[in-house]
Symmetry: C2
Subunit: 329 residues, 2 copies
């Protein structure tokens, strides 16, 4: 197992550049006034398929083709944005794709995955999903793109932070959410490669705190049951063996409550005028908690991971009104 | 009363350029596939104060200063985005502002108006609001910026369409929502000045169809009571004497139902990953109805007027799930 370096992110960036969006960086002057710090948001909701996941999926297929290993068929397993990302990338490279998804996956994500031309196989449980994708991938010519525990997926996800630093220059800290750890791993590699003194910070739901516990115990911990959190991008049962090695290089890690998730989902939506996934909003609370311990004004980059939310989740987010209480330190 | 020309829009554009955002134009390839036409969206939700209204307010004050008529105090009356726009622009030019708003205005818009440093006076009814602003404006050194019926307000609003055509070139049609008619008036002047053959199309809630009736009867009609519509930017009781003259130059006008408003608010939010006001979503339904009568593929520009929505309205928008039924012609 090689250790990924900044060069792997650079290679990924040049590989995927013709296909993905260089997403904008946005900020809110009023939020910066209220907090007394400069916060920059990398808006990956405006990425292809509405999430950073397009980067890793695209990089993996482009890397296979570059190495003369273009598969005849691609398979993937996910309940979320990775499904759409693989379906989108496979279609672009004209490779048939089959995506295994649990029946409880959001209807809108199933619908979007199909709309990119992939065959969707719905399975009763996540265990069946994982068994079926493993079986399918054993066939000759079939390639399985896992959601995070894969070097080219990680390298692709790291391009978001690489782009951001290239655009805005030095920052004091970078915050990203943790599901399986692919985005954070890529972010650590890119950030520490470019800026040796930068702090890289992770955020996870308190109700799905397997990565936090894993880092505390220095051993991968697995959730016992499907967690109860609005941050559906962070419901992963455990991080991967590969991503765990990069997560160990994080400088801080925060567990975020459901109320904090809803608060920042509402406020970031309101201030930035963007569709903000609850998973993305966690990073803002982590940034705030980190900033509360700082003595001087800081410049922070937050990766807004995506903007895919179904109607049911939207209703839950907006059930109570948090917009009447301004953010403050 | 002079007739505004393209030159007035150009003057406004150079006047306000240092202060406002040149907002991005976005599109959705999947929506274009589904409809068989090319739709471009001018994202004015990403404008200062989250709405195109910043343009008109900024242009009016900058024009006063340019003509050595800098007021000592600015007043305005509005229940919505115009309040925030005047408060923001007045603060920028360091002029004290008092904004008269009805008590029933959205709390978030009152809060935002105050956060820009304006004094907000809440009045029981809209009639009292209008009486108080008239009284206040009679004092020496006080200037009243009305929400739409003003040449410099109209010229400022027209800069959005001017920017868009400059960026994307020729289009077949331009669609914008109608409240008091300021945005549509400015859009007509800019569009017909640049592209003599372009169609300019208006959209209004069926439940607040005063402009539609006014155009049919060729005489300004006034709503009898506060209308019941989610499109709060289009609740204006009547268009203005000035804006009505420009509205007469529209090529088509559509009345949009509440269900159509909710449908497109959900879908544009989902596809574009932007915060979309119900008022903005009306234009998409009008575009669709116009496109249904066309024989060839068209290029359409839609002005997304803003992205300010309170929690209560957000809940109403997402009450039912419209995302399961794809847009189609």
């Amino acid at each position: 197992m090689k250790t990924l370096q900044l060069q792997d992110i650079l290679d990924a960036k040049s590989r995927i550049s013709p296909f993905i969006n260089t997403t904008p960086i946005v900020s809110s002057s009023i939020l910066n006034d209220w907090l007394g710090h400069d916060i920059y948001f990398k808006a990956e909701g405006l990425q292809k398929v509405g999430a950073f996941k397009a980067r890793g999926a695209c990089n993996t297929i482009a890397w296979l083709i570059e190495n003369n290993k273009k598969p005849k068929h691609i398979v993937a397993n996910s309940s979320g944005n990775h499904s759409q990302a693989v379906a989108w990338a496979a279609k672009m490279f004209q490779i048939p794709a089959t995506i295994y998804m649990p029946e409880y996956a959001s209807k809108i994500k199933i619908q979007a995955t199909r709309s990119y031309g992939a065959t969707v196989v719905l399975c009763k449980t996540r265990d069946i999903v994982d068994a079926q994708v493993a079986e399918a991938s054993a066939k000759e010519g079939v390639y399985w793109i896992p959601p995070y525990n894969h070097e080219q997926v990680i390298s692709g996800q790291g391009t978001a932070v690489y782009e951001a630093i290239t655009e805005i220059g030095d920052v004091d800290a970078i915050v990203a959410p943790c599901g399986g750890g692919g985005l954070l791993s890529g972010s650590v590699i890119a950030a520490k490669g470019l800026l040796p003194n930068v702090k890289v910070i992770g955020a996870e739901p308190k109700n799905a705190n397997d990565a936090s516990l894993s880092l505390q115990k220095n051993e991968i911990q697995r959730l016992g049951a499907k967690p109860n959190t609005l941050a559906d991008g962070a419901m992963t049962m455990s991080v991967g063996a590969l991503t765990f090695e990069y997560l160990k290089r994080l400088d801080a890690f925060f567990e975020i409550t459901e109320e904090e998730i809803v608060y920042w989902t509402q406020w970031l939506t309101h201030l930035l005028k963007l569709r903000i996934e609850p998973t993305s909003a966690m990073s803002m609370e982590a940034a705030k908690q980190w900033l509360q311990k700082q003595q001087t004004k800081k410049k922070v980059l937050i990766v807004l991971s995506g903007g895919n939310i179904d109607q049911e989740t939207t209703l839950k987010i907006w059930e109570k009104d948090y917009l009447l209480k301004n953010p403050s330190m």
